[in-house]
Every structure is written in structure tokens, then in C-alpha cells.
């Protein structure tokens, strides 16, 4: 019968598939930029050959927006992002001969490394504080910005410092050093409420769900500058630095290239001019 033969053929095909398929179930901890010459990246062009990017000729950057003035949607360029992190990344990418593409993935996929591991992006720029715990899951570049923690409150609240929040609520962003700082330094009976989205912190303050926001000085100050209702009442200096982050394994070439660029951009003044652009009062 013709159909019996068809079935037999299908069965054979299945076995062939099985035999071939056996070799392909490899672990995906591969190394993209496995090429051994990971040394110098001197300024323009040619450096892109030292590491591979997800998209040819493009440096794909993950971020967690909105987080002004570090990363936020460009009001003049809808659909595009800008901010200190983004513009610094853009300068680095240009010097490496790459275009810049930005993907907004959220903070937790970045600090856990999932976003980079799963191929959403090559590198993350999201005001990520360098900590030893995070360094276990992701690879950091050199620090490029110093961060301090700060407390933002509504102007008529009468709150002047973290201690005044005893018995009140404090908003932090999930998985940030601000959350850790709050857990370690806020009064015992302060309710620490964690939000996933950095933008919701301000909403919570304005709607009186919380009486204070504890996070990096930069976004708090930016909000206070743009909103008369809130003010930064306290700053807590830390030794924290922000770094860019890539996946733990296989991104050595990329990290080295970015580090070299960071040094170059500081030397030739580009870093300072981007800084002036977003922190005009030198804050």
C-alpha cells in the first residue's frame, strides 16, 4: 500500500531527525567575542572587530527608563532615548565605530544579568551601582559616575531627615542600593515600600502613599527641580559608583573596549561636556 510506505518513510525520517538532533542540544553559555586579540581599541573604527555585538555594526544598550536625567525618552525625538548614560554610551559607541540602539528592559533584568544573557542587549547603561553582589552575576566596567543616596519629601511635610520617618512610609525602588540603604538606616518602624518602576516612586509621594523617597541624588534632584511640590532634604554620601554592565561570561573584550573609551573620553573633554549638558550646575 502506498500509505504504508509513507508511514514507513515518516518513521525513518523521525529516526534520522533523532540521530542528527542528538548533537545539537548544547548549553548556551557560549562566548560571543571569543576572539583572542582583545587588546587595544584606539578611537575610531576597526575596534568593532574585537568583539561581536548582537546586531552587526550596532551597540545595543539596555536601560531602565524613565530615570531622568540619566535615561529618559527624548522629548524632541519620540521613541529615542537620551540622558547622561545614553549620551555617554553614544559617544563610546561612535568611537568604536558602532551605531547605538537602546532597549528599555527594566532594572531587575539588568542587575540579574538576564537581559544581557538572553541576547536583549550587549551592554547595560542604567545608573547601575557597582556592588560585589551584583558583580557575581554581571561584569562591570570601570566606574563612570559617583552616586549618593538622598531623601525626597513633599515641601510641607516637615520631614528633614530619614529619622523623621519613624512610623511613616518610605518608597524605594526594588533591587537598588537605595533599598538596601533604607533597610539599613531607616528607623525600625518605617514601612519600606518597594516599587518596580522608578517613576512610581514620585507618584507614591505625591499621592501620599509614602512620605519620602529614598534613592540616588540624581533623579531625586531632577524631580525636585521640575516640581515645586517636592524637595530633597537630605543627602547621604556613599562610595558608590555607577558602572556599565555586560554579561558575566564572554564580554571581556567589550568591557575592555568600553573602559578604554571611558578613559579616552575623560581625557579629551567629551565626558565633561556631556556632564555639563545634564548637570548644568555641576551638581
Amino acid at each position: 500500500m502506498k500509505l504504508n510506505r509513507l508511514i514507513a518513510l515518516l518513521a525513518v525520517l523521525t529516526l534520522v531527525l533523532a540521530a542528527c538532533g542528538g548533537g545539537d542540544g548544547e548549553a548556551t553559555d557560549t562566548t560571543d567575542g571569543a576572539e583572542p586579540d582583545t587588546t587595544e581599541t584606539n578611537g575610531d573604527g576597526g575596534a568593532a572587530a574585537d568583539f561581536e555585538t548582537i546586531s552587526e555594526g550596532v551597540l545595543t544598550v539596555c536601560t531602565d527608563a524613565p530615570y531622568p536625567p540619566m535615561e529618559y525618552e527624548d522629548p524632541d525625538n519620540p521613541g529615542e532615548y537620551t540622558g547622561f548614560d545614553i549620551e555617554l554610551m553614544r559617544a563610546i559607541a561612535t568611537n568604536l565605530g558602532l551605531e547605538l540602539a537602546v532597549v528599555n528592559v527594566g532594572f531587575d533584568p539588568i542587575t540579574s544579568g538576564l537581559a544581557m544573557e538572553s541576547g536583549d542587549c550587549d551592554i547595560a547603561a542604567a545608573s547601575i551601582t557597582i556592588t560585589p553582589e551584583r558583580a557575581e552575576n554581571i561584569a562591570f566596567t570601570d566606574g563612570y559616575f559617583s552616586g549618593d543616596q538622598s531623601l525626597l519629601v513633599l515641601v510641607d511635610s516637615g520631614i528633614g531627615a530619614l529619622e523623621d520617618l519613624a512610623g511613616q512610609s518610605l518608597a524605594v525602588q526594588t533591587g537598588t542600593t537605595g533599598e538596601i540603604y533604607a533597610q539599613e538606616n531607616a528607623p525600625e518602624d518605617t514601612e519600606i515600600v518597594s516599587f518596580e518602576n522608578p517613576g512610581d516612586l514620585f507618584l507614591a509621594l505625591e499621592s501620599s502613599q509614602v512620605q519620602g523617597v529614598l534613592q540616588d541624588l540624581v533623579p531625586n534632584q531632577d524631580y525636585a527641580n521640575n516640581n515645586e511640590s517636592a524637595a530633597v532634604v537630605a543627602t547621604y554620601p556613599t562610595d558608590e559608583e555607577y558602572g556599565f554592565a555586560a554579561k558575566k561570561e564572554g564580554s571581556e573584550a567589550l568591557i575592555e573596549a568600553v573602559n578604554a573609551q571611558l578613559a579616552a573620553l575623560r581625557e579629551d573633554g567629551t565626558y565633561d561636556s556631556i556632564y555639563e549638558q545634564f548637570f548644568p550646575m555641576g551638581g
Partner: protein, 261 residues
């Protein structure tokens, strides 16, 4: 080929196709990586007993809050829909259409952030209150329709008989119609309960504290701190443990309801 042979051939082909698919999955999947990333026993065991004694309980508490609030509101809405007073009908219809169209996540955000900004007062009760009111309002929209359908499914003869016995319409509704309606709608209401269980996973968006978290938020937070996806699998498993008995219950109730008539 005879029809019977053709049937056998088709069936054989289907089995072979299934075998091919299963083999493809078994052979192409990286089982070592799957076990390492999703099924690490030591990470899973660290989550117990709190995941059950606190966080599963939180999930259930929020679900109950939403269900009770929603059911009460749904009853009111259903009666409004059936009311002879025009504006009541319109308001109830508008409510149902709005909260069934708008995503539950948006409703939760509006209740938590929008209400205080608009009216200057917060919904009391913290996350519990937001679950009750936010999720409850969404559940009410769906349950109102269910209750209305249940009321309308009660034979008209019941209302006529009650009226002819001298009962006022409200007496008839509350002592005769509604009890019968509820028997009809218990299966779909239990279904709605299961949907609410899953919708509690949206509550994280209005901010949580380590103690008020529900299962999904716990899963995600633990995923971050462990750098592994096993906690999410644990959370999913516990959702299964909670909802599967309920869905079996729904099926039993449906069968019993059908028999009872």
C-alpha cells in the same frame, strides 16, 4: 484502500508525528541547563515554609478580599441593571463595560495613585485595601454579568408565582429568585475566583513591603537575589496547588447543578 485502512493509516501518522515532536523536544533541549536554571532543589527548599505560610496566604487573602468586595458590588450592579429606574441601568451598564474593557493593571494603578490625587483620600488598608477595591472593582464587573444572567435564568414562573402569593417584588427577589440564581451561578463564580487568584499577581505594581508580597512578587524578588529562575517555578507550582482543586470543584459543581434540574 478501504475506509478502515485509511483510518488506521491516518491514526498511525498522527502517532508518528507526535513521536517526532516529543523526540525533537527531548533531544534538542539542553536538559542540564534547564535543571540548573529552573529546578534547583536547594534553592526551592529554602523558600519553604514561608512561601506557604506567609506568601501563599497573602495571595489567598488578597483574592478573598477582592472576591468578597467584588461580589457585594456585583450584586448591587446586577440589581441596578435589572432596575426599572433608567439611570441606574445606564450607570451599571457603563460601569460593567468600562471595567471589563480596561486592563486590571490599569484599574489597580488608578485606584492606588489616581484616587488620592483626585479626591485627596487614600483607600484604607494598604495593599489589602487596594486588592479589595482595585481588583474587586474589576471582578465586580464580570460577576455582575454572571449574576444578572443567573437571575434571568430563573424561570419567570417563579416571580409570577411569588407575586400571585402576595409577595412584594423585593421579597420575591431576595427570598425566591436570588437563592435559585446563586445555585446556577456558583460554577462561574468559582471560575471568577480562580481568575482573581491569578490577577493578584498584578498587585506588585503599587508597591510592596517584604511582608505584604504575594506569590509572584516573591518569586521575582527571590529570582533576583538567587540569580536563578527556580523560585518562579516554585511560585507557579503553588499557584497550581491552589487553583487545581478549585477547578475540579467547579466541574463537580457544574455536574451536580445540571443533575439538580
Amino acid at each position: 484502500m478501504t475506509p478502515r485502512q485509511r483510518q488506521r493509516a491516518i491514526r498511525a501518522t498522527l502517532y508518528v508525528a507526535l513521536l517526532a515532536a516529543v523526540l525533537a523536544v527531548v533531544l534538542f533541549a539542553d536538559w542540564a541547563s534547564i535543571q540548573r536554571n529552573f529546578f534547583r532543589l536547594e534553592i526551592a527548599s529554602e523558600m519553604f515554609p514561608e512561601v506557604l505560610t506567609r506568601f501563599a496566604v497573602n495571595t489567598l487573602v488578597y483574592t478573598l478580599a477582592a472576591f468578597v468586595f467584588g461580589l457585594a458590588l456585583a450584586l448591587v450592579l446586577a440589581l441596578m441593571r435589572l432596575s426599572p429606574v433608567g439611570p441606574y441601568r445606564w450607570i451599571a451598564t457603563a460601569y460593567v463595560e468600562f471595567f471589563r474593557s480596561v486592563p486590571a493593571l490599569v484599574t489597580i494603578l488608578l485606584v492606588n495613585f489616581g484616587v488620592p490625587l483626585a479626591f485627596g483620600r487614600r483607600v484604607p488598608g494598604g495593599l489589602f485595601g487596594i486588592a479589595a477595591v482595585g481588583l474587586g472593582m474589576v471582578g465586580a464587573a464580570y460577576m455582575a454579568e454572571t449574576i444578572r444572567a443567573g437571575i434571568e435564568a430563573v424561570p419567570r414562573g417563579q416571580m409570577e408565582a411569588a407575586r400571585s402569593l402576595g409577595m412584594r417584588p423585593s421579597q420575591a427577589m431576595f427570598s425566591i429568585i436570588l437563592p435559585q440564581a446563586f445555585r446556577i451561578i456558583i460554577p462561574p463564580l468559582t471560575n471568577e475566583f480562580v481568575l482573581l487568584i491569578k490577577d493578584t499577581s498584578l498587585l506588585f505594581v503599587v508597591g510592596t513591603t517584604p511582608l505584604t508580597r504575594e506569590l509572584t512578587k516573591l518569586g521575582r524578588d527571590t529570582m533576583q537575589s538567587m540569580g536563578n529562575a527556580t523560585p518562579m517555578v516554585v511560585a507557579a507550582f503553588i499557584y497550581l496547588v491552589i487553583t487545581l482543586p478549585l477547578t475540579f470543584l467547579v466541574r463537580r459543581l457544574e455536574k451536580r447543578g445540571a443533575r439538580g434540574r
